[in-house]
């Protein structure tokens, strides 16, 4: 409890027990947060980003054909400006390609996006891979 007198605030000497409970819970949470980050600092290995891409859906779009995918970064390093290219492969030849850039793919996280082709790939193989990134 705080006493305000003539614009000066003095904290009460014998506070209510609620204040101590809140204080202890807060201290515990702050400690947990610090412990978690410290663990991360300990584990950090500085390995470069590792991407894996998984196609999650496909279907007709207004002006072509949409292939949706998730891109995951397993490493503890975040990548920025990640360029993803998708190709429709027809008998070893690239029939069409499309490209998209992710602003960020955070460490140990997943982002999702979609590539738009002008034609339906049908039974042909759709190949999606990352072709580059920068450090944030």
């Amino acid at each position: 409890m705080t006493i305000t007198a003539k614009n000066r605030h003095t904290e009460a000497h014998e506070p209510h027990w609620v204040e101590w409970v809140t204080g202890i819970v807060s201290a515990l949470l702050v400690f947990l947060m610090i412990a978690w980050i410290a663990k991360e600092a300990w584990m950090e290995d500085g390995a470069p980003p590792e991407f894996s891409i998984e196609i999650t859906g496909r279907g007709a779009a207004a002006d072509g054909y949409r292939v949706e995918f998730d891109i995951a970064n397993r490493a503890t390093t975040t990548a920025a400006a990640v360029v993803v290219r998708g190709e429709i492969v027809d008998g070893g030849e690239v029939a069409e390609d499309a490209e998209v850039t992710f602003d960020y793919v955070p460490a140990e996280s997943k982002s999702s996006g979609a590539l738009l082709f002008s034609e339906d790939p049908g039974v042909r193989e759709v190949r999606i891979r990352t072709i580059g990134y920068i450090d944030p």
Partner: protein
């Protein structure tokens, strides 16, 4: 009272009310302009999830009512008056946001209606806090000490002497929350918060947590600003750290999580990444929380 006297009284009252509106508008501008000129907030106006925007708008109402009750446009005493002040402040904020966004060429007649509404609604939240604070902080004290004394006398039953006012613990935490929310809303939508959290290593984050807590504590207890809180001599310094500063930091952290979630900055991110962004945002949040304890 004569007829002339009555009409003069009415004129005086309406003048008083207009001055109040003007202060509210000034407050909305001072607090709202940085956000009205932030690109990310314009974009948020149309891409923010409508359910999250709705929640933010609804959460803002009780927050304003409590704030109005605490600091008041015109020395608010009853909840009804607090509610009235809230409505006026929110309305001022909506009008100011709409006018400024229009002047800056950010809303035009060709835009879809939902985009216009989204942009205004987004901006009205911080501006409404500004409008409330503006009316109380920009010169409501001109009525002088008499009224202050009146207020102190009318206040609560647990007062020790008429001139002393006890701020309850919950209210203290609430004020910290408002301060943290205000500064968080200012910076959370910018891409920099996310970018900073990606650039920082966990060691940077650890240092930032400790610095945030130290600044919060120092602001309120060590550096002697006006309104600085004091500890009585026999109270050890760590009492205040546990009872006020750490809970205050936790309030800033919770507000940061809520704001980042509202602005869709946490979706799909791993726990560590979430925590890093929250720590970054809690830094300004902590300063806001400490400042609110001093100013409000």
């Amino acid at each position: 009272m004569t007829k002339a006297g009555r009409s003069m009284g009415r004129r005086h009252r309406s003048r008083h009310f207009l001055i109040g509106l003007g202060r509210g508008a000034a407050g909305a501008m001072i607090f709202g302009i940085p956000m009205l000129m932030t690109m990310e907030l314009w974009h948020l106006g149309f891409y923010i999830g409508r359910s999250r925007l709705l929640l933010l708008l609804l959460v803002n109402i009780p927050l304003l009512v409590l704030l109005a009750h605490r600091i008041g446009f015109e020395q608010t005493f009853t909840w009804r008056e607090a509610f009235r002040d809230t409505t006026i402040a929110y309305a001022i904020a909506i009008v100011i946001s709409a006018v400024v966004l229009f002047l800056l060429g950010n809303i035009t007649a060709e835009m879809p209606f939902s985009e216009i509404i989204g942009k205004i609604a987004m901006q009205a939240v911080p501006a409404s806090i500004g409008a409330l604070l503006g009316r109380s902080q920009l010169g409501a004290h001109r009525d002088g000490d008499e009224e202050e004394d009146d207020k102190a006398e009318k206040k609560g039953d647990h007062d020790i002497v008429p001139n002393e006012m006890s701020t309850s613990y919950g209210r203290e935490l609430f004020l910290m929350g408002v301060g943290a929310l205000f500064l968080s809303l200012n910076v959370a939508p910018t891409e920099e918060i996310i970018l900073i959290s990606y650039k920082m290593t966990p060691l940077h984050a650890l240092a930032l947590i400790l610095l945030s807590i130290a600044i919060m504590h120092g602001f309120v207890y060590a550096v002697a600003f006006k309104g600085t809180h004091e500890l009585s001599e026999e109270t050890p310094w760590w009492h205040a750290l546990f009872r006020f500063t750490l809970p205050g930091y936790m309030v800033a952290v919770l507000i940061s999580i809520y704001v980042l979630w509202t602005f869709q900055r946490l979706d799909d991110a791993a726990l560590t990444q979430v925590l890093m962004s929250v720590i970054v945002l809690s830094f300004p949040g902590a300063i806001g929380a400490a400042a609110a304890r001093l100013i409000l």
